[in-house]
Symmetry: C2
Subunit: 252 residues, 2 copies
Amino acid sequence: MQKPPLAPAIILSEPQLGENIGACARAMANFGLSDLRLVNPRDGWPNEKAEAMAAGAAGIIEAARVFESVEHAIGKLQLVYASTARDRTMAKPVLTPAEAARRLREAAGRGVHTGLLFGNERAGLTNDEVALADCIVTIPTETSGFASLNLGQAVLLLGYEWFKAGDDTPAEQIDHSVQLPATREELILLFEHLEEELEKGGFLFPPGNRPGMIRNLRSILHRAQLTDQEVRTLRGVIVALTKGKKRGNPPL
Amino acid sequence: MQKPPLAPAIILSEPQLGENIGACARAMANFGLSDLRLVNPRDGWPNEKAEAMAAGAAGIIEAARVFESVEHAIGKLQLVYASTARDRTMAKPVLTPAEAARRLREAAGRGVHTGLLFGNERAGLTNDEVALADCIVTIPTETSGFASLNLGQAVLLLGYEWFKAGDDTPAEQIDHSVQLPATREELILLFEHLEEELEKGGFLFPPGNRPGMIRNLRSILHRAQLTDQEVRTLRGVIVALTKGKKRGNPPL
């Protein structure tokens, strides 16, 4: 099996609240990231609140490394993108999260060490910090109203895109492992059963409308993409509905 | 201007913590969703903690509606997807968030009223609740380790995909509104300036290597995709470096 590409390091510059560091670690764990780097965390390190919030991602918190500057934190990396929402008048490419994830995966696949740099909760990244990055990543949000992603949310969304870029889950899956799709024959027997009973009940009337009515009913049942079990269930439904009638139950 | 398609309603079934309801409202606001529906919120409604957490999304909390059952909450909707991570042995299509968002937008564009249904923090959706939906949406996560998305994160990721499905931000943008890309002429003058000074400094030696060395240097500078301002800056750099030499400053 091919070794999975090395996931990007997450670098938090001067994060303030331990809870947010913990939330970042959880978001990372969900999407297969593990290398957390902290630049001068305001409340020191280790941080109990970060550990409490990290829950199942405690391993990431324990392995987190602390650096004295962004320069040191990214020193050994070869490709670094900075996450920022603010407009910068810098001639630096601004990528969507999906495009950034695609490029990070492509680079990581070639053995390049990558990282995603995030600013603190209050002020984000400084221009000098952004200048250290190769590109800017900006998460698109609704700008007409309120829009404000916190640190944990930004890490979550970029982690999600990283994961997606390497994920081959099909857009649509139907679980037919237990229940198989009905054969055409089973479907046709269902149609005929239903139509026979409807004929008896006087539903397919007048005769001139019969072919169109049958097509409509068959079309509904086709659209439902029935499994073989569901066909049997519907056959039982028809029996149950018509059995009552044969017994001559009075109408309610 | 075309009216934007109606965003999906977010239906939370029996949510427990007010903080989580508030986090959902914030996530919704970021991505242009506004119709929040609560089915039997555990701690009653209104909820101070939800309001506090919602911050700038207070309008969504104020307009939220409470229903006594999922059936009532989704009664007027025409297309409902259920968000769940658990495997269900139901013959119901399972969509990726991106595919779900694409279909919801497509339906909303035709005037269809849509909704996304989420279970509570502890147990998620029941099978009976899932059975009310047209499709299941499952957020892909790293299954080999710890993976657990909370309610606010799930709403954030699906809201993000909804927004993205209607967002036409280019994958890569370079801000040339202030600074224009350099013309070829400006670049060539920079190359010639640099090469003239390097010639004087004896760098382009031996002569047989000269063409290859020049190509390498030009290639580096091309790759940098310089703006006109940056070309002027680099010309200044060359002047500054060589002026020192002409003054005959002693080496340090």
